[in-house]
Amino acid sequence: MQHPDRLPLLVIIPALNEQESLPGVIEEVRSSLPDAHILVVNDGSTDRTSDVASRAGARVLDLPFNLGVGGAMRAGYRYAFRSGYDRTVQLDADGQHDPSAVPGLIRAIEDEHADVVIGARFAGVGDYAVRGPRKWSMRFLSSVLSRVAGTTLTDTTSGFKACNRAGISLFAANYPAEYLGDTIESLVIASRAGLKIRQVGVTMRPRAGGRPSHSPARAAVFLARALLALVIALSRPSEPVATAEAPA
């Protein structure tokens, strides 16, 4: 079962039409994590994302059409699971997540025996700020999810996550494609499955393109959908981790 020599870290980058920012992100991952394997999950991009990624030296998982972040990530975790990786980090293709924070996440897996580690904003590190109603709704979600997970979580919508083998095998089988399923619901699934969730404060950079919306209407819609996702996720029976082999 176990490979004689352990596979390195796998960095999973879901990408949708990111041909501009992706080469820089891959380059940065390369330089700060020279041993890591890089897997770009091309979520049905219509531009040259796949080309650009493979030219930059990443492996590319080309989804035939757009599945959303949840679908892309499940495909990525399936790849990690089947290939036998023990550690994965998912980070965004827009350059928001700083690859130099990855060793900190991995250390949390090793030292605190965590299964899923979230790179979190608002955890005292960095000055990333969200204002107004969106901030309140995010804070509310964090408090609920902190209770569910049994640990303090300040940034539940972060897409910056590290997993060990148990997390990989859970998410390979079960990573929702719903709206916010990749963040909120996946955390609920993980804590329900008995995985240990921890967070590590990271700095986030402003997104290369696009900006977080601060309009109250958008925030209300966001909160409503997040609540729906949360309520449904919490009401669902928990799913056990289908470990084909014992986590290393």
């Binding site: 020599d5 394997h37 493979s54 030219r55 030296g57 989804l63 679908g71 399936r78």
Partner: protein, 181 residues
Amino acid sequence: MSGYVFAIVLCVAVVGWLFYLLRTRRIREKYAGIWIALAVGVMILGIFPHLALWLSGLVGVKTPVNLIFAMAFVVLLAVCIQLSAEVSNLEEETRTLAEEIALVRLEVKCIDARESGSSDQPASAPAGPYEPGPTPGPAAGPGPTPGPAAGPAPTPGPAAGPAPTPGPATGPGATRDGSSR
């Protein structure tokens, strides 16, 4: 009286049509079932109109026709919800298939790359089960492999594939994503 005949004829026609669709396998039994049951029910009401009167008296609805309408709404609602559930199920299945296709495609690419000269592989992935196919290196391009050129046939050939990619039409472009749109 002719109204009842009309209803009965309509129901027979619906059942006949559903039967035809089932016979030609254009509709599955689990969807046709509810329609057939509905048509038979309406037919029974058409043949024995007093049933509707009796039934509405039983549940306390004054006008039998209102009971029929209400029941029709409920049945249609149930069918719509069932269809939504089935569509969700289908989406989940296509999602799984899409993921599998992507995984298989990457695997094929990696196998191709390995066959076409694994010596070009950089030392970046010594133990990887699937070697990283598309290396920026010169000859390791997975697409137009020299030997097993028949292998990657399902992907659009090197001639057709890279048309949309304006870049250099080397390996990685050829195996890419011609099938998506």
